[in-house]
Structures are given as structure tokens and as C-alpha cells.
Symmetry: C2
Subunit: 279 residues, 2 copies
């Protein structure tokens, strides 16, 4: 295992608070890199199982405390592996302490509110680990690429997002955000695989190909998003994702380090229970 | 494996629609029985893994269809294994298609509505498998045992529950309800184990011992509940639960049979995708 690899190398530089947005240079991260791989797929799977057991223990402490909260935000292009990451990384974590929140296009009622209304409603509660599968970022990225909002509105929305995430962080939520980074070639292969397997057609809409045509626009919109919202209280990490096993291990390592830093202990034993014999 | 064992033997007799509630005779089911066990713990675990893979496939079809819905209701005395059942039975099922809903004592806002208001809000949507960890039944059982409601009100509530479950069933939800059946001795051992392990104290409240003192009252209240609401569209099954591995296998077998009966197929291939090459 690449023990000396530093997760911080994949953290997007902190947003400096200036007014001008500086897009992050996504081309500086190779989507095929495997810095957290053990070197073999079997080794990666073993490492993932090892981390999974540790995450399960940490999550039980989080749940037992009912005090702190964790929010993982997963973003990435179509087929970047958001669903697969959730499934693999949390395979050994007790589902009772997790809440997975998929965000799709807003409903009419949701769209009739400000864009953070539906997101706030899904924020994790004390003791909970919430996973946003897509998130509030979609409500800036998509309209920006489709030119429904201009650069000024985009800046305003990212400011609102920073403020919203600051509120959550200040009130006890640890936030980690992952951009699953795949190459355009890798996406072609994955989309083609879905087309070639009729039992996967339900995952596919012809409009996905329209989004692919806008690949460069989306990559730029992501670069702006990452640069504008990678704060010290809610950092973005770019996860090289062409290799699925690497992606899973790296996200797991990141969550492990994050939760280890939360000083999660079981609540103190209850004196009132001492010596009680159940009849 | 006890291939000839019939799940129907553990189904509470259908509610006949009469006005008089007939409590189910819980003493007719031995909580230590293991009718669905393979005979060994290892064999049970292997069978569970086998069913887990099948449930995962069925759940993917359910999710792909986005048409039918499934609701599993889990009830039982403290320590009967509701949490453990969820964890074990769904270990290999994709968490993206599951939603686990824990019901606790109603909040002030929830209590200001009718008792089914908060439950309806959590009903599964198309393509979803929802698990109620405790449920609307608590809102009849607990107040009845604590004598906050009388027998007439209890009957009224069960009638409302039958009507509510009929609404869900008529509109595409397959409902299965499990009563995890443990003995009073088994509960003593499990409660004592929690008391003896300080890292488990957070799961324990001294008031749990008060509920244990009312064991017979709760057993009777459950007997009334099962008899009054085991309809053909939302049947109750009594799951012998003193053995955890048996309990898990039996719930898994029940869900497997239920979902196999739903004729879950992947949606038809999309003609529009035929022959498309991704560029």
C-alpha cells in the first residue's frame, strides 16, 4: 500500500474568501491514477474490508453518541460510480446508522422553494451518517451548463452554498465532499456497456448522450464549483475513478481518516445500571 | 434444510372481518423453534448469503421497474432483534434501494396529528423497499398496555390500520409484517448482556426494565394486534427468534418467497438504444 500517499494532495485548495472564483485545474489529476491502491485488485478488496470494519465501529460510536453528524457528498459525471461507491464502501457498515439521499431533478414543489430548501430538509441529524448521492451542486452545475443562469448567479449560489455548509459545520456536522473523476474515454466504455446490456437500459436515457456532448462544459463547471466551495469546513477531494477498486479504497481511506479525527467514543457507562440483575 | 416447512404455518390466521377481535394464541409458537434452520449455524449463514444474493437481484428489478413497492414491518419486544435482522438479512442487498425507517416515541408535532400521519409520510415510493423498524403498531400497543386507551379505542385504531394498509396494498405496495418472537428468559439474558457491557449502555434505559415487568400485558396486546390486523393483503408472521441465525434465515425466506411472487422483471429493453455507439 502506498502508505506515504497523502490525501491532502487530492484536496482542492481552500477557497480563500476572495470574490473572484478560481476554477480548480482538474487536468492536474489523472483519472487513471491509483495512488491509494495496494497494487492488486485483491489487495484493494482486502484493504476495503479492513477499513469497512473500522468504519462500522466508528459509525456505531457516532450513533451511540447521538451528538455529532457526518455528511458525505458524492458528485461526478454520469457513470462516474456514485452508486457503486456507496455500495462498496458501506458494505460492512450497519445500515441502521446510514441514510442515503438521492437527489434527482427538483419536483414542482421543490422548485417552488429556494434551491437549498429540499437539501436542508435532508441534512443528517445527531448520530447520523448521511450520504448525498448528487446534491445541491447539481442545482448550480446543470443550469449553468445549460445557460439557464449566468456567471453572477452562479457566484451567488456558491456563496449561499458556502454559507449553508458553514451553518451545518458550525452546528456539529462533519462534511466531506468527493468528486469522482473519470476520463471521457472511460465514460464512453461505461455508457456503451449499459447500452449493450438490455437489463441495464433502465439506467440509461438518451439524454445522457446529450450531457456527454457537453463534457467539456461540465468539466469546466465542476472546476468552478470545486474552486468556489472547497472550504476548510467542507473540503472537496478529487478521487481518481477510472479504476473502481481504487476509487472505493480511496473514498474509504478518506472517510476513515475523517472519522478517526472526530474523537468518537462510546458514551460513558451509566452508573444507574451498575450491578443490576434482570429478573 | 427443512424443505417441507411451510411459511404459512407461521402466518397469523386472516382477520375475518368480524367485529370481535380474537387474540392470536402466541403460546402456540415456540420461540426456540428453528423450523427454517439448516441444522447448523454455518449452514444457516450460507443459506442466508444465498438468499441475500437472490434478494439483491429481486430488489434491483423492483428498483429498475419503479412501479411496485415493498413494505416490511418489524415488531417485537425489546431485544427481540429488529436491528440485527435488518443488518443480517439485507447485508448483501444494495442499500440504494432500501429505506430503513425507525419509529420512536412521537414528537410533539407528530403527536398533534392523527397517529397514521407520520407513518403515511414514510410509505415506500415506486421501486422502493422500505423497512419499518417499529411502526404504527407501537401507537396502539404502548398506550393500550399503559391504559391510556380503552378496548374500544384499541379496536378503532386497528380498524384504521387495516384501512390504511388496504390503501397501500391497493395502490401497489406489497406488505409483510413480522413479529419477532422471543421468550421472557431469552430477553433476560439479552438485557443482562447489555447491562454487563458498558459500551452497550447507550442502547439501554432503566425504563426498559419497567416494560419487562409488563411482559404479560405486552404479550397479550401483541396477541390482540396480530389477530386484528393479519389481513390477506398485509399478513403477520410470527418468527421464532430465540436463535438469531434462525430468525434471520426465516425472515429472509419469507421475503424471498414474497418477492418471487411479485413477478419482478427488468423493464423491456429500449428500442431507441439499439445499435447506438457512444462517441
Amino acid at each position: 500500500m502506498a502508505k506515504n500517499t497523502d490525501l491532502d494532495d487530492f484536496r482542492v485548495p481552500f477557497f480563500d474568501g476572495g470574490k473572484k472564483l478560481k476554477p480548480f485545474d482538474l487536468s492536474s489529476v489523472d483519472p487513471s491514477a491509483k495512488p491509494f491502491s495496494t497494487g492488486t485488485k485483491d489487495g484493494d478488496r482486502a484493504r476495503l474490508a479492513e477499513i469497512g470494519a473500522q468504519l462500522d465501529d466508528l459509525q456505531e460510536r457516532l450513533h451511540a453518541q447521538r451528538h455529532q453528524r457526518v455528511l458525505l457528498v458524492l458528485q461526478g459525471m454520469d457513470t462516474s460510480g456514485k452508486d457503486g461507491t456507496v455500495r462498496a464502501v458501506f458494505h460492512d457498515v450497519d445500515p441502521l446508522g446510514l441514510r442515503i439521499v438521492p437527489f434527482r431533478a427538483p419536483s414542482e414543489r421543490e422548485a417552488a422553494h429556494d434551491f437549498l430548501w429540499r437539501v436542508h430538509a435532508q441534512a443528517p441529524m445527531a448520530g447520523e451518517f448521511a450520504i448525498f448521492n448528487r446534491s445541491h451542486y447539481e442545482d448550480v452545475l446543470v443550469p449553468r451548463v445549460l445557460k439557464q443562469i449566468d456567471a453572477d448567479e452562479c457566484e451567488r449560489r456558491y456563496r449561499h452554498i458556502r454559507d449553508f455548509e458553514a451553518l451545518m459545520a458550525d452546528t456539529g456536522t462533519t462534511i466531506v465532499k468527493c468528486f469522482l473523476h473519470i476520463s471521457k474515454d472511460e465514460q464512453r466504455e461505461r455508457l456503451q456497456a449499459r447500452i449493450d446490456d438490455p437489463t441495464k437500459h433502465w439506467k440509461f436515457d438518451v439524454s445522457d448522450l446529450e450531457a456527454r456532448k457537453l463534457w467539456d462544459h461540465y468539466q469546466h463547471a465542476y472546476a468552478v464549483a470545486l474552486g468556489a466551495t472547497s472550504t476548510d469546513y467542507a473540503p472537496w477531494y478529487v478521487i481518481p475513478g477510472n479504476s473502481k477498486t481504487h476509487r472505493n479504497v480511496m473514498v474509504a481511506e478518506l472517510l476513515l481518516r475523517t472519522m478517526q479525527g472526530m474523537k468518537l467514543e462510546f458514551p460513558p457507562a451509566k452508573e444507574s445500571l451498575k450491578g443490576i440483575k434482570v429478573e
